[in-house]
Symmetry: C2
Subunit: 520 residues, 2 copies
Amino acid sequence: MYCNDKCMLLLLIASAALSACFCLHLHKDPVTYIPSDNSVVENGAKNYKWSEEWLYDVPVDHFSFSNDQTFRLRYLINTDHFLTNGPIFLYTGNEGNIELFAQNTGLMWDLAPLFGAAVVFAEHRFYGKSQPFGAQSYARVNNVGYLSSEQALADFAELIRFLKTERLLNARRSPVIAFGGSYGGMLSAWMRIKYPHLVQGSIASSAPVFWFLDMSVPEDAYSHVVKRSFLNSGCAEQNIINAWSALEKLASSASGLDYLNRLFHLESKSHLNKSSDWLMLREYLEEIFESMAMVNYPYPSNYLTELPGWPVKVACGFFNSTQKVSAEESAQSMYALMNLYYNYTGKRETFCINPIVCDDSAYAALGDPFGWPWQSCTEMVMQQCSSGPPNDFFVKNCPFTLEGQLTYCKKIFGKIGYTKSIMRPHWTILNYGHQYPTATNIIFSNGYLDPWSAGGWSQKSEEIRSLVSIIIEDGAHHYDLRGKHPLDTDSVKNARRLEKLYIKKWLKEEKLHSVKKNSY
Amino acid sequence: MYCNDKCMLLLLIASAALSACFCLHLHKDPVTYIPSDNSVVENGAKNYKWSEEWLYDVPVDHFSFSNDQTFRLRYLINTDHFLTNGPIFLYTGNEGNIELFAQNTGLMWDLAPLFGAAVVFAEHRFYGKSQPFGAQSYARVNNVGYLSSEQALADFAELIRFLKTERLLNARRSPVIAFGGSYGGMLSAWMRIKYPHLVQGSIASSAPVFWFLDMSVPEDAYSHVVKRSFLNSGCAEQNIINAWSALEKLASSASGLDYLNRLFHLESKSHLNKSSDWLMLREYLEEIFESMAMVNYPYPSNYLTELPGWPVKVACGFFNSTQKVSAEESAQSMYALMNLYYNYTGKRETFCINPIVCDDSAYAALGDPFGWPWQSCTEMVMQQCSSGPPNDFFVKNCPFTLEGQLTYCKKIFGKIGYTKSIMRPHWTILNYGHQYPTATNIIFSNGYLDPWSAGGWSQKSEEIRSLVSIIIEDGAHHYDLRGKHPLDTDSVKNARRLEKLYIKKWLKEEKLHSVKKNSY
C-alpha cells in the first residue's frame, strides 16, 4: 500500500515505513458545503437538507472516572419524514467532517420517507467540528489519547439516548438502524455488537472488520484487489509494470527528469531533481491507482474527487496498448491517469506532488491531518503492503512489520508523547471479536472490486442468525450507501433491495418482541 | 438499607445519606489464607489448592491512549483436571480479595473434574493485591478513576487471551465459562454480553443487574425481601418493630443507656452516651438483619462470618414470643441477634459498634475500604432505602435521592478530587442494557429469600435464547455457587443440576459451531 508511504510524505516523513491509514481519506474532501447552524446544504445532483446540532456534556472518557471533562459532539439531523416512534437512521460517523458522509450516503435519504424515519449523522470525536479539546485536541497524547473507536461508540450511545428522550418527540420506542461505510461501517457493526439494546440493526458497508493482526487477511490483499479491478476493466498488466520501469529509467538522466517535470506539469517547488525523486512520483501515482479502485462508480461522481463514470475503465484506455511502446509513451499513460484523477474538470494547470513543500495535502484538506494516523498508531493497525507481481502491479514493499509501523508513529507523534506501549495492535480483535457468535441483524456488504473487501466479513451461506453477507460483484467502496442513480448496476440495486427488505424485517421483529417499557 | 448509613459511619461520616455499597462486603473477610506464590490454601471443610499468579502489563486504561501505564493483575489457578482444549472456568472477581471467592465458589471446584476444566479466579482491579498504583491506588481521583466495571471486564479479556495462548498448553480452542456471584455475577453476565467471542457461557448468580436508575426496581425492595426472609423463618414482625422502640426508649434515660452498654457488652470507647446514640446501635443491628438474610444457608458456614445452619431461623427464635415483653426483654432479643451473628463461636467478650473509633471496621478488614464506595459514587448507583412498615420492619429513611448520594460521595472522596460530574448514574444501564436482545448462554440464578434478588434478571418463561432464569426458592445470596453439602436443599441441588446441564449444552454447541481457526 503505497498510500501509506504517501501519508508519511504528507507528514514530512521521508522513510518508507508503512502506516495503515485508509486511502479513502487521504484525499481532499471534494464536497462543497456551507457549515453553519441550521444550514441548508446543496450537493450537486442531490439536495439534502439538515440542521446542524450538538450533543452537549459528552464525557471525554466514558469508561473511567479519572477525567471528568466533557465536550460537545456535532450531529446533523433531518426529521421531515419522521413519524411517531418511527425509526432513527443513524450514520455512525468516521474519519472526516460529517457533512462528507451526509452528502454521500444517499441510501439513508432515499429510504427515510419510506420508513417514516429521522435521519441523523453523528460526527466522530476528534474529526470535523467535534474536537474535545478544541484547537489543542491533537497537541498532546493526553488529549488525542481519547480518540478511540470505543469512546466514539459510547458517544453514539449517549446520542441515541438523547435523541429518544429529549431531542425527538414521540421517539422513546423508536428503533435505531445504524449505517456506516468503511471505518464507519466497522463502527455501525460494532455498535450493534456492543450495544444491541440501543441499535436494532446495522448496514455495515465495505467495513474491513477483520483487517487486523491475528486474522488471516493477507498483507498484500489490498494491492491484489486493485490489480483485479484494473484488469477487469481492460488494463494490460504488463503495460503498468513497464510504466514504472519507464519512469525510473527517465529519471536516471537529466534530460529525462526534465521531460518528466514538463510532462507531469509539476510546479517548480515539487520538481524531480535527482534520480531517486522518481520514488515520490511513483508513490503519488500508486495512490491514484489505489484510490481510483475505491471510487470506481458507474456514473460521474465526486466523492473523493470529480471523476467520470467507470473511471478505472477510462484509465485502462491509457494502458491497453498491444504494441511495444517507448519510455516516453509509458510515462504519458501515467500522466493521463493522474490528469484523469486530479483534473477531470480540466481546471488545473499544474500539479504539486511533493508533500513536504506542497500546501494542498490531502490531510490538510480533510481538516484533521493526524486523525487516522493516530488511530493507525493505536488500535487500528492494519497490515498492508505490496508484494509486487504476480500479486499486484506495484513495486514490492512487503513485509509489513510492527517495527516499521512504530517507526512511522514515533516520527509523527513522538514529539507529543507517543511511546511504543501506546500501540495495541491486538486490542481491536480481542475487543470486538474474531467472530460474532451472538450478533444478529447486521448486513456486511462488500464490493468485489473494492480493495477493502478483502478484510470484510463474509460467509458462504447467505445468512447466519440474520448476519447477512452481500457481495456487489461490480461494486467499489460502499457503493450501496450512495443515493440511487439511473446508471446504477443491477448488483447494487439488488444489494439495496435486500438492505431495504432486511431493515423492514428487523423493524417488524422489533415491534413484535420489544419490551414495552424503557425502550432506550 | 441501613447498611449504607453504616458505610458512612465506618468512613467517619455521620450524615444519614445513602450509599449503595453491597452489604455483602461490609464485613470482615473470615477466611484464613496464606498469600504466597504457589501457596496451598486450606479452608475449613474444603481444601482447595491453587497457584497464585500474575498477568503482567495490563493496560490501566483499555479504552483510550492517554495513559500508557500498566499494572499486574492477580489470578489464582488450578489445572489439576485440565484436559487438552478443555474448558476454562473463570471466576470474574468482584469487590474483595480474590481468595474469598476462590474459597466460597465450590461449584467451580466440584464441576472442574467432570469437565476436564482449568479453574481460574481473576481478581478485580483495585481489590486485593491487584492495585494498579500500589499504595497510591486510592490516593487521587486520577488513580482510582480507573476502577470501573468496563476496565475490569477488559482485564478479564486480556487474561483469557493470555491463558489460552501463553499460560496453558493446548488451550487455544478452550471454551471459557464465566462464573460470578453478586457484583461478580453482574460481571460474568456482562462478560458474555460484551465479549461473547471470548466467553461461551456464564453463570451469573444473584446478580442485581437491573438495580439501577431507569429501571423499575423499587428503592425499598431490599428491605422488603429481608422482611420476607425473616417472616418466612418464623419471626413475629411486630416483635422486631417493637424492639426498635424499646431501644430508643431505653436510650432516653441514663439508666437505660447504662443498661444497653452492659447488655451489648460495648467497649467503653463505643459506649452509648446520649439518647441519639441509639441510632448508631440501630444501624449496626439493621445491618445484621440485612446481612444475615444474605447468608442464610442451611448448614454452618463462614462466608461473611461464622454462623449456624439457617441462621435466620435461629435468630427468629429470639423474636417469636406471643407474649407482651418488656423493653429490656426486647433489647435482649436484639443482643441475642448480634451475638449470634458476630459471636457464634463464643470467643468475643466485647463489641465495638462505633465505626468512628473502632479499629475492626469491616472496610479495613476487607483491605480496600474505598473500593465499593467509589463504585457506588461513579457508575454503580443503586437506589436503596427503607420505607418502614408495611414494606419492611426497619425505620423509614426513604426516599433515595441522587443529591443524598452525592453528599455522601463528596464527603468521602471530595478531598481526593471528586466532583459531581464524576457520578454517571445512567451509564451502567445505557452501556450494558435494559434488556439483552442478542445475549445467549447466561444463567441468571436468584434466591427467593436473597434481598438482592429483587434487582435480578428473571423471565416468566424459563428460557429465551438460552437466557435462563432460575429461582432458588429457599435460597440466599449466591447459594448455588457454594460447594455441595449434605444439608443442601432440593432447590439448590436442582439449580446446580440445571447449571451443569446448561454448561454441558453450551460446550457441546460450541464444539459443533466454533470456527476452527483463531479461537481466542
